[in-house]
Symmetry: C2
Subunit: 347 residues, 2 copies
DNA sequence: CGCCCTCATGAGATCGATCTCATCGATCGT
DNA sequence: ACGATCGATGAGATCGATCTCATGAGGGCG
């Protein structure tokens, strides 16, 4: 590949002038510029970004780490980030951590070596993370996404998970549900999971209802009906569940239907995330929507501001309760049973 | 950030030795190495990959361009690529083209400037693409994914779209369907779309059935029932449709159910891609599965081989007909109508 | 007419690591 | 004991573009 020097020679100018013809054309006489571009064309020259980055001490690259791309909530956010970054002349280096702490650490280390201008991370648990400790000592701007650390000085963007699930729970209660469960994937060691359960617990208690223990599924994004079945029957069987993510909710609905149950007839199911696909299903998914596109777009904007040396205040973004067809009133046959329940809430 | 020279000074060795302590530790006496690492630690030194890349003339980066990450078929492939690349010490620069030809061109140009070691691309239409023309003149190894160009000399990995849809069509025919339609998104200008329709047409003709015109939806991944409705009623109404992607199929099933129809009772629906979510739904999605993980993994392996200077022969990967619950026998009430149909195929 | 300023360009240093080649002491073989 | 070999290290060039500073031509103005 031809370099600037050979282009400069062919055009009969110095390296400096040839460089200017590309990076700041206004400094070069149009005639000269044309000679340079012509020479560049003849030699199939293409500026070498690596050299530019080394000299300029900036890569125009953002390092992104998400747990997995198999979950659309991350893919959709990443899509938005890519568009926003490209619009500002930045590229994304994308990595997946699989929620693995040691991998998180390696990935961030590698990206720092790559001299990315900033990092956008979604980590497993923002409250106990080696990655954050490392970044704390570094100068590289970074931003967490979807996480919700307890420490206030960690720049983060995402929704208020506790409030969001609390609202979802109240929504179900308002529809007449009393026996509401919460279904989670296999990864309980996350700041979000803790806060979501806490939101559920709080809302239940506030209404004089008994929160149930978390129902844990063996996989993170696919429900096993067998794990839930014991909770469904009997006089205190659940009439509604909140799932910690949409994939879990969707697969749970599928399993319930396959077992001959009706959603929301026999069980109301609420998701969390608001992935696009939820709209399209029948029954459509009731869910707590995280504004994935807005989150992705803002993440890039805020990070770029940090890179420019500003100190923007990342606001928590609003969640939205999106009502779909997977949630309805509790079954009436069951509602009779409610009266046998300790909590005697008038129907 | 400290550089190698300051580390070398602190450790009392030359720059060369300090560099060796990192990149080829076996060449350095253990005692010396420890001194260097100790000094590096004290100075919070981190090797600068940009400088290394410039000197070594290799970035260990792969440029990836997919149409969109909102479709899990790409996200799932990308997930597999990321894992495979990382395992071989490579990073991914990820971009999305939105099927926009000019964007495709810009993106590839930018990645070439970035001196990626290779490119993995999914382009809109491999048979008329400026990008391919450009790459043809370049030395950068590249590989198409999911595309199926007519030209034989373009390295590509993916399934045989024509054969895949033909097989799906035959499957429906074998179940007794005669009036089968094909539903596509709004982007017909793609090599895959053409071949998929061609496979459908061929299979229909081979069985003496009349292929229908493509039913085009206004959006690429979401079905509008109104576009399909005219084809459903009447004495020659469809009993089965093949959708060009799973998202289209899934949303179509949702719309059909919402309108009170049963799938597959009233209409059998078959998808294409095999995204993970299809398994979980009820009815589960019958689809032509593209081995997305295998495709992603192989794409990286083959590209790395090309980077090493080998000339691997990318084989077309096998598709698989995945039978789900969204396809069944045609409704019997309709089957009576079949006899009024021009094609008289005995049941 | 001469001074100063602007504009276009060139020379040379620089970003940070790596590669080649040279050097020097120690070990080995006969 | 002496030349050969090996292992560890250092000096200096190099990757390709950009930045700073210097230079020189040309124009405006007193």
């Amino acid at each position: 590949m031809a370099d600037l020097l050979s282009v400069a020679k062919l055009a009969g100018v110095s390296r400096a002038t040839a460089a200017r013809a590309f990076s700041s054309p206004e400094l070069v006489r149009p005639e000269t510029r044309h000679k340079v571009l012509e020479a560049a064309h003849r030699l199939a020259f293409r500026p070498n970004n690596v050299a530019r980055q080394l000299r300029a001490q900036t890569t125009k690259m953002i390092g992104v780490m998400v747990p997995s791309l198999d979950n659309p909530v991350f893919a959709e956010q990443l899509q938005a980030m890519e568009v926003a970054a490209r619009a500002s002349g930045y590229s994304l280096i994308v990595t997946t951590s699989e929620y693995d702490a040691s991998r998180e650490s390696e990935i961030v280390e590698e990206m720092l070596r790559q001299r990315v201008d900033g990092l956008v991370l979604t980590i497993a648990d923002a409250d106990r993370s080696e990655v954050l400790a490392k970044l704390h000592r570094e100068v590289c701007p970074y931003l967490l996404v979807y996480n919700q650390p307890e420490a206030a000085d960690i720049p983060t963007i995402g929704v208020d998970n506790r409030a969001a699930v609390a609202e979802a729970t109240r929504h179900l209660i308002a529809l007449g549900h009393h026996r509401i469960g919460m279904v989670a994937g296999s990864l309980l060691q996350s700041d979000r999971a803790r806060l979501r359960y806490e939101g559920y617990r709080q809302a239940m208690c506030d209404h004089g209802l008994t929160p149930r223990p978390l129902i844990e599924m063996p996989r993170h994004t696919q429900a096993e009906l067998a794990c839930l079945e014991p909770e469904l029957s009997g006089h205190d069987g659940l009439t509604a569940v909140i799932c910690t993510n949409d994939l879990l909710a969707i697969s749970l609905i599928g399993e319930l239907q396959r077992s001959g149950r009706s959603v929301p007839g026999d069980l109301s199911v609420m998701g969390f995330d608001g992935i696009n696909l939820g709209h399209c299903l029948y029954p459509s998914l009731s869910t707590v929507e995280q504004p994935r596109v807005e989150i992705g777009r803002s993440a890039v904007q805020i990070l770029l501001a940090m890179i420019r040396g500003e100190t923007p205040q990342p606001l928590p973004l609003p969640h939205a309760l999106r009502e779909g067809e997977s949630v309805g009133a509790p079954p009436t046959s069951r509602q009779v049973l409610v009266t046998r329940n300790p909590q005697r809430n008038t129907p």
